[in-house]
Symmetry: C2
Subunit: 320 residues, 2 copies
């Protein structure tokens, strides 16, 4: 991955400085939470995909840098609300913001960062980008609500799971890989291919995230393992585990989901291993990446297309 | 007020139908919370001011109707988050949404309704409107955060209080009365006058709101009296009461604010009465309305200007 980041290193530095400047605020609480969440916000995969997707077609301009920042702000803002909703203790090995500053501050600073994205978007001054992001933000909130409605419900199909991850995760990756090319004045055909690439990349990213919640070590993951189980949220490894296990085992898993209980985590992980649920889930992720790459290869070859292909492979191999 | 609503009755009906259509969603939870919050959202003063402000200059077009809806959505979305933040039990005599559907659903449906405003705004397709609303949403969140930071702090000056109500309430009224004329192609001078009108109207509206929390009957107000006290939030009646009372009385009020405690509400209301704190607060509100009307009278006379002047008087006289 190091070499991929290197390709847009200068731009990422500009974005990081920009993010700090934009969220700088005389109110210390806003600064503290914003900085904390930016630091714990991870690998900046979303802005990386904006930059690489744009560079496949043209050099980077200020609007593209601003757009990458908008996408990061969307993500950070939704993390702040998510952590409150999920009552998560940690985020990527750091204490979650709401555990330090409280739920109220996290909700409001989430709203604040979203409003910053909104201001930056007004500055970009592009009707198509505005419409895509408005629709994206609407679909993400729908996905979060759907996910909330499925809490403690173990009877969810693979199709329903795919619909949720499409809404809550894939649309933002899709927006990222689609809007870079739009601002780089790419052809419609290429814009569509890139949108599809981002869409399937986002699906795979979420599937791997859900796999890591049962198969990573806590120190790698930066948060407690079995987190989704403790939140009563059923994800793909458990869907396969239920599908492939005995009636007794099915009931054990279903009860844990219904009760948001970690208590039987060890037994559940045994069932996951016995039923090959991780391998089945990984297969589903590999299928998504195959789709993603098929669409990616429709655009002209370049260093940046190669980098996006490598990024797609990285999504499959990441361990946290 | 009846005659004011009558002036834009048809448009308000269109907006109400539009709101229902826009928030209609196959997910019942979204529908239920949205409808509940729309019903409990009150007198639609903000969309009323958009419509009347536009009508001072031109007839109403679809963009102005959409804008009035955007403003209502901003307001409804912030109510949903506010009720969670304030832990309020009721809203205008109805049970607050988060008491029925939970905090998580209220936060997410608040985000959902904001995203609907965002989509509608993209449809209006006007760069100046977009910039004003992005800035407005940023200032509102700053105001909410400032207010949170002052919780349990009784040592707040009138100037700090005015700054908070400016941010959390006045800017949205200012946006409403400014953007109607912008979309009605008014002259810059008139747009500025209307912005100032809305600004001072919003200040007065919030001051009266804060007065009613200590002087209205609970059945009129539709929520418990002394609510702000119970949330540890100091507002203008208590700022004056502290200013005008004995050291012993000052300490009693300050301790109630520090402890978010209703316990001494009766004694505090006695101090409020003794110190004329309500009359002093009303005087401050009257000053704001005087400023508002001075700005309003800069624009050409019309039935709609008269209606806005009457609306300003109504803000002072309302009992809930």
């Amino acid at each position: 991955m190091e070499n991929i980041y290197q390709l847009v290193n200068e731009e990422l530095d500009l974005i990081n400085t920009g993010i700090k400047d934009i969220i700088a605020n005389p109110i210390p609480l806003i600064n503290d939470i914003s900085n904390h969440t930016t630091i714990t916000g991870g690998k900046k995969l979303r802005s990386l995909t904006v930059l690489l997707s744009a560079k496949c077609f043209d050099s980077i301009n200020q609007n593209i840098l601003d757009l990458a920042t908008v996408i990061e702000f969307f993500h950070i803002s939704s993390l702040l609300h998510d952590d409150v909703i999920d009552n998560a203790n940690t985020r990527r090995g750091h204490t979650a913001a709401h555990m330090i500053w409280g739920n109220k501050a996290s909700i409001l600073v989430g709203d604040y960062i979203f409003s910053k994205a909104f201001q930056l978007l007004a500055k970009i001054h592009n009707q198509r980008i505005l419409t895509i992001l408005a629709n994206t933000s609407n679909i993400i909130t729908q996905g979060e609500i759907q996910q909330l409605l499925y809490v403690n419900n173990p009877d969810i199909s693979i199709e329903q799971y795919i619909e949720i991850i499409h809404h809550k995760t894939a649309v933002l990756f899709e927006a990222a890989t689609q809007m870079g090319p739009i601002l780089a004045n790419a052809e419609e055909e290429d814009i569509n291919a890139m949108a599809q690439f981002g869409h399937y990349l986002g699906r795979a990213f979420q599937i791997i995230d859900d796999i890591l919640d049962y198969s990573s070590s806590s120190s790698d993951l930066g948060k407690q393992i079995g987190n989704d189980l403790g939140e009563g949220k059923i994800t793909i490894p458990l869907i396969y585990a239920i599908q492939e296990s005995s009636i007794k085992e099915k009931n054990l898993i279903k009860q844990a989901i219904q009760n948001s209980s970690y208590d039987k985590l060890d037994q559940i992980i045994e069932i996951i291993n016995k039923t090959d649920a991780i391998a089945l889930s990984r297969k589903l992720a590999v299928q998504q990446i195959d789709h993603a790459v098929t669409h990616l290869l429709k655009i002209a070859n370049s260093t940046y297309r190669d980098a996006l292909e490598e990024l797609a492979e990285f999504v499959l191999s990441r361990s946290h």
